[in-house]
Symmetry: C2
Subunit: 254 residues, 2 copies
DNA sequence: ACTTGTGAAGCTGTTCACAGCG
DNA sequence: CGCTGTGAACAGCTTCACAAGT
């Protein structure tokens, strides 16, 4: 669905569904683990279990990429790793800047998952002059004044915002003005960006609130005695709750 | 972002769609901001803009909660704040434990968004004996040995895992065995949990990979073919052609 | 006149079940 | 045989557009 271009008319483009794109990294991780164990091939059933999805979904997802499997056998691990990496754009180098080097920013800078997948932390930026020059994860922090120059000099197109909420929009505007077209936002605020810029958000408190909602329901079902809410009735026994699952889109509009 | 629950007909929690539940925290945040500015009422159009969604969706979402608006007028801010808070279960106190006090764990412990929404950090737990007793965000870190006792003594039902991937499943098992039924997982691994336990995951590298996918798509505008990529090499593209909007991912028109 | 609340339509994503092929 | 790949049915979510209220 992300193939833009079409606005209202049916998007009959050759695009990969957004839900599928969101799962590719999951498959890739599972495949990488298999690769490290030198497993040559894997069936949709096995791989699906490792990724925490069901096999029909996985096969459908892969069918959007092409016919990379062998009937009666399964998928070639190495080949799939390459195909998915290519599809995700991980065969190239993505310089990334992290703005806001507090606890979270530092955690991100130290996070190994970035470097291992083609993402290179090109610079750490913070508004606090006292931070300037101080190394975090082996990279010296630079002052916000340098932001535009850093973006341009390194050809950065992906920015990570880990600042307090109050500074996020301003930082976002500067990143976009300097040429960044994809932003990962950790600040608990809605960012306004021009069309053509992608924003994904990660909001810690929202995740907890969603858990609280479900937690509250569990409590209510058990002790259905003192419920102020009318409802529930005989709650059907719920099925499993296993691995992770697809997700709700997080790309926001301008 | 991510969702726990899986392989299930996506039971609509007490009639409220999961997608709606995921947006309630967003509305709540926008409403809280309005409340602090003493704004008495707000229209679906205004609130939707503040939350970054469209108004039809917002009205539909609220319709699942009940008829809390007034036609021709809008919604009463305070009343809505209360209703949504209640629906999300935020009118009660949720003791939370954070396991794994590295950079990320520390960032979470310091994150203000927790305390302000009914979440109380009951304890910080780490496997490193050297960390024991050391205060982080004003709370002394306790050793993993104490995990079970802490969970039981504090009636904790929500746990946050911020350990390395290798330790996550083990920590998860112990949390669940001790009574935790909701888990927010930051470790890049798929957790297996018994039925009835909710898991939501936040995976930093997955978010970046999704952005990379869209970023790559932006770059190859016309060349839609599956051209062979020059494998290695310091591929650096991104020539800021900020002009003709080729239009990209975009999810919805403003 | 203004804005909510909601059937209905349209779209996206998931699951089923089996044809197709090694 | 076993396993992939996929049309078709199904389910859930979003958007539309207007009736219903104030």
């Amino acid at each position: 669905m992300a193939t833009g271009r079409t606005h209202r008319p049916a998007t009959r483009s050759r695009g990969i569904p957004e839900a599928t794109v969101a799962r590719l990294p999951l498959y890739l991780r599972a495949l990488t683990a298999l690769s490290e164990r030198s497993v040559p091939t894997v069936s949709s059933e096995e791989l699906a279990a490792a990724a925490g999805v069901n096999s029909a979904k996985l096969r459908k997802d892969f069918s959007y990429l092409g016919s990379y499997g062998t009937r009666g056998v399964g998928y070639d691990v190495e080949y799939l790793v390459y195909q998915i990496s290519r599809e995700l754009g991980l065969t190239q180098d993505w310089p990334v800047v992290i703005v806001g080097i507090g606890n979270l920013g530092a955690a991100l800078a130290n996070y190994g998952g970035f470097a291992s997948r083609g993402f290179r932390v090109a610079a750490l930026i913070d508004a606090d002059p006292a931070m300037a020059g101080k190394p975090v994860a082996g990279i010296p922090v630079q002052h916000t004044d340098e932001l535009e120059a850093i973006i341009r000099d390194n050809g950065v197109s992906i920015g990570v915002i880990a600042t307090p909420a109050g500074a996020a929009q301003q930082v976002c505007d500067r990143l976009v003005a300097a040429g960044v077209t994809s932003i990962l936002n950790f600040a608990p605020t809605v960012l306004n960006v021009p069309e053509g810029v992608d924003v994904r958000k990660v909001d810690l408190s929202i995740e907890l609130q969603i858990l609280a909602f479900h937690e509250q329901r569990k409590a209510g079902e058990e002790a259905a005695a003192e419920g102020p809410l009318p409802a529930a009735g005989a709650a059907r026994k719920r099925s499993a709750d296993q691995g992770p699952d697809g997700d709700v889109p997080a790309v926001m509009p301008a």
